[in-house]
Every structure is written in structure tokens, then in C-alpha cells.
Amino acid sequence: MKKIQALISKEWAEVFKNRLVAFTVAFLPLLMTAIPLVILYLSNAEDEFQDAAASDLPAQFTILCGGLSTPECVQYFVVAEFLLLYLIIPVILPMTIASYSIVGEKSTRTLEPLLATPVTTLELLMGKGLAAVIPAVLATWGGFFIFYIGVWMMDVSERVAGKLFGPLWLLAVFLVGPLLALAGVSIAVMISSRVNDPRVAEQIAGIFVLPIILLMLGQTTGLLLIDERFILWMAGVLVCLDAVLLAFAVRIFQRETILTRWK
């Protein structure tokens, strides 16, 4: 445990000295929090959805609006679209941190002396993985907490607030978020083994945000309904995916493979 702590602390000291990483970790959650808050503020202050009709919504979304008036349902629909951004943060941040941490070690050739120590491969991978997952999850949760404060300060209808902080979004942020972060780290390890520039690793990793964006589009167009059942299914699939990705990452993150095949 002492070794994992030392690895995490070393990773943070190294990675967060990189301004781009520090900026991304600080700025992205703030941006992703600001967007739904601004939407909420505008829709709240101008009563924008007073004249909205149920026909303005994808038919199946109304299922999620039990107990809400039509304008409230439209407001919830619009804000909920942007709450999916909280699932993008835990994918992007660990990928950014892990890419810089692993590719950085490759380019400064610090991996060999580290691999020559009696640290186990599991400790090493856990140290690097947790150093990327912890800030990502905390930043996501921190952003969601700021969103909660914002909603509380904006005098949003209690029924809408109840939906925004109901089981659906709590499960998404507090269960699916960490699972996505774990997938992000595993993907970053796999990509980092093949590239020598952290920016390239980050760009390739960016592709893995696409499924989340497709979820947003799916709900907007009415093709998909993101309800509690969907989120639980998503969590189940992610648990399996994480197990597969982690197995690949552990396989790639072997001393001999790193020294002989990582180019």
C-alpha cells in the first residue's frame, strides 16, 4: 500500500506540473458544469418553456416526467441532455492524465529503473491507474456538487430538482462515472504502449468519447430513452468491458513487454 501511495503521489507531482494536464483537469469539469447551469438559469429566468407542448418532446421521454407539468418536463429534458456531459468527464480526464504519465515516462526513459525495483506489476498499474482515476472521479463529483448548489440557488421547481438529483442521475454520476474512468485508464495504457507523444495518445483516446455523444443524440432524437434501467444496464456492460480492458492493460503492462515492445 505504501508503494501505491508513493506512486500516486509521484504521478500527481509529475503530471500536474504539466500545465495542459492541470488546466484540463480543472477546466473541463467547470465547463461541463457551467453548460447545464446556464441552460437551467436561462430556462428558469425567462419562463421559456411556459408555452411548450408535450409534442415538443420525444414521445418516450415523457415516461420519465411522472409528476411534472409539461413545461417542467421540457425543462428537465433540455437540462438532462447536458447532464450526460458528466459522463464525458470521467472518460477524458483519466485518459489525459494516464497518457501524459505513461508516455511521459517512456520519453524521459524513467520506466526502466522503475521496473528494475521490486514493485509488482499490479502495484505499478494500480498506482498509475488510481493516480488517473481518483482526480477524474473527484472532478466529476465536484462538478456535480457545484451543479447541485447552483440548482439550489436558482430556485428551480422542487419537482424538477427532484428529477435532476433522483436515482437516475445519481447512479449515472456515482456508479457509471467511476466505471467509465476505469475504462478510460485501461484504454490509455493500451494506446500509450504504442505512441510516443502524449498529445497523440490523447487524440486517439478522444475517439472513445463518441459513444457518450451518441447517447446524447439518441435521447434527443427519441431513439433512446436513458432511464434507470438503461443506466443499470450500462453499468453492467461497463463492468464486463472494464474486466476485459483491464485484462488487456495488465497483459500489455508487463515488464518484458514494456521494455521490448513499447515503441
Binding site: 508503494k3 508513493a6 524513467t110 520506466l111 522503475l114 515488464r255
Partner: protein, 321 residues
């Protein structure tokens, strides 16, 4: 060679990378407290051998035992018993010198970590810069810090890959003195280097590698094997008759005349030099002084490489020749 004293044992060690053969059939035993120099051209398999010795690479075949532990079985124990200085220092440039060492100390479970960090930073003259990011250090300082990292956990075995490569003469001298001090403490050291003068000075034995082990012995024995013992007889005047006289002895294998010197290759100079001096004086030569001609290790090394190339040419003759 007693097994109890053998700290590094390589038996028929071979390592392939796909179709490429990096090391083949290497057998070498290094005793406790010995300093052995690993010489060879680039691509000879020196770094691969070092990586196998610190359990970073597994051999394709053959056996390795380090500090009593078998590679492939007790890899973690081998890593704990070995201090590695890789080709490049590989330090965390944004961290301070003290933090770099403290991090590695934790990885090696070093007891009294603070004390050890201070001890080695002072010993290597880096204490005043302990809180500075190592990115601001000179190449020599980085190398010293990397050596401190290699010895921080007081390993029984030290594997040093080109420890003075790229250093200025002053830094090289400091590093060499430090290696000498470590050797005096009784540590077993395997030193890979291209600096033959350094190997000659620091090493008890030299192993010359070019995928295969070409030769291993003390520097002095290697010189003798390659060139025999050479003795210079400085005369006032070297006449052809003196050369003929010396060549007549059966313990003399070669005589060269270089100006007023006779360079004689002979067996057992301690016993035979007086006989030659006596004979030369009796035949009218004025002997000004007699001294041993010490061949440079570089000549031994180059001689071995030429011999290998010659053998390869014979086995695979070039179609263009």
C-alpha cells in the same frame, strides 16, 4: 571457484528477440566482491545481459542466479538485491533530488529512508542541491544521482551500464572513485563500458562479449594471452647481431628492433631477463635499461574483435571478395 562465493551465475544464457539473437550460450560466474567489466561493441548483448541479470528480461534458454536467487522463480528478490544504473539516468526531472531518491527508496522498502537519502546525497556532493528539480542538473549531477539511486537500498550486486558515458573528466573521476569505494565495501559489480582504460583500472576481470563470450580473465592475463610478455631492452645501439643473438633462445618467441630498442616477447621474464642481459653485455651491447612493455587493454580488445571478424569471414565468405 566455490559456489558459496558465486554471486552472479550465468549458465548457457541465450536471449532471442524474434529471429534476432542478442546473447548466445553465455556462461560466466562472478564472485562476491569482484568487479567485472563487460566489454563489447554496440549490439554485442551487454545491455540485454544486464537486463536479464536484474530480472527485467527472461532468458530464452539457460539459467541465471543472482545473489542466490534464480531468475524466473525469485524475480522480486533478485530486483531487491540488485542496484541498476541504466544507460540513461531516467530520473523524474520535475521532482527534486531528495524526492527522486525518497520515491525509489519507498519502492525498495529502504529502512531509515531519510538517513539513507541524506547519506548518499552528501557522499556524492549533491546535498546542497537536494531540493532543486533535477531538470536543472548537469549531466554529471544526473549521473551521480542515478548512482545514488542504484545504491540507496545497499544492494549486494551492482549492475552499471556505462556509468561514465558522456561525463566530463572531473565527473568521470568522481564516479570512478565512488565505484572504487563501493568495490572496497565488498559489493559485486558488473560494469558495462566502452571506456577500456576505465575497465582496466577498475575491474578485477574483463569479459569480452559479442553475442558469445569471447574471453574472460584478468586484464593482465588477457594481455599475456593475446600478446605474451613483452620486454624492452634499451641499448645504446641496436646491431642486427644482437637481434640474432636474442632470437636464438628458445624462450623467446619474437624480437622487434625499434630504433635503439629491442622489443622481446618471451616467457617468464623474471627468470629469463637476467640471462638475456648477460648475453647481450657479453656480446658488446651497452644495456641502458630493461622494462616491461605494457600492452593497452584497447589492443587486446581490438585484437579479439579482429579475430572474431576473421573467423566470421572464413565461415561466411563475402561474394564480393
Amino acid at each position: 571457484m566455490s559456489d558459496r562465493n558465486a554471486v552472479i551465475v550465468m549458465q548457457n544464457l541465450t536471449r532471442r528477440f524474434g529471429d534476432v539473437l542478442a546473447v548466445e550460450g553465455l556462461s560466466l560466474t562472478i564472485e562476491r566482491g569482484e568487479v567485472v567489466g563487460l566489454l563489447g561493441p554496440n549490439g554485442a548483448g551487454k545491455t540485454t545481459t544486464i537486463r536479464m541479470l536484474c530480472a527485467l528480461l527472461a532468458p530464452s534458454s539457460g539459467e541465471v542466479r543472482v545473489a542466490g536467487y534464480q531468475a524466473g522463480v525469485d524475480d522480486q528478490k533478485i530486483r531487491a538485491s540488485v542496484g541498476l544504473l541504466p544507460e540513461t539516468p531516467g530520473l523524474y526531472l520535475s521532482l527534486s533530488a531528495a524526492r527522486n531518491l525518497a520515491f525509489y527508496g519507498t519502492m525498495y522498502d529502504v529502512p531509515d529512508l531519510k538517513g539513507q537519502v541524506e547519506r548518499y546525497l552528501r557522499m556524492l556532493d549533491l546535498w546542497a542541491r537536494r531540493d532543486d528539480p533535477v531538470g536543472t542538473f548537469s549531466k554529471g549531477m544526473l549521473q551521480k544521482l542515478a548512482i545514488a539511486r542504484a545504491v540507496l537500498h545497499e544492494p549486494e550486486v551492482l549492475l552499471l551500464d556505462e556509468p561514465t558515458s558522456g561525463l566530463d573528466p572531473q565527473a568521470s573521476r568522481l564516479v570512478r572513485s565512488f565505484i572504487e569505494a563501493l568495490s572496497e565495501e565488498g559489493r559485486t559489480i558488473l560494469l558495462s563500458t566502452h571506456n577500456l582504460e576505465e575497465a582496466d583500472r577498475l575491474c578485477d576481470r574483463i569479459a569480452v562479449l559479442k553475442k558469445h563470450l569471447l574471453a574472460v580473465d584478468t586484464p593482465e592475463a588477457l594481455r599475456q594471452k593475446m600478446f605474451g610478455k613483452k620486454v624492452v631492452f634499451q641499448l645504446k645501439e641496436a646491431r642486427p647481431t644482437f637481434r640474432d643473438l636474442v632470437e636464438g633462445y628458445d624462450f623467446v618467441s619474437a624480437v622487434e628492433v625499434m630504433g635503439s630498442k629491442l622489443v622481446v616477447t618471451l616467457e617468464d621474464p623474471e627468470r629469463n631477463n637476467p640471462r638475456l642481459v648477460d648475453a647481450l653485455v657479453r656480446s658488446g651491447a651497452k644495456v641502458q635499461f630493461v622494462g616491461e612493455l605494457r600492452q593497452r587493454l584497447e589492443d587486446v580488445y581490438l585484437g579479439l574483435m579482429r579475430a572474431v571478424e576473421g573467423r566470421n569471414d572464413e565461415e561466411n565468405p563475402s561474394p564480393h571478395k
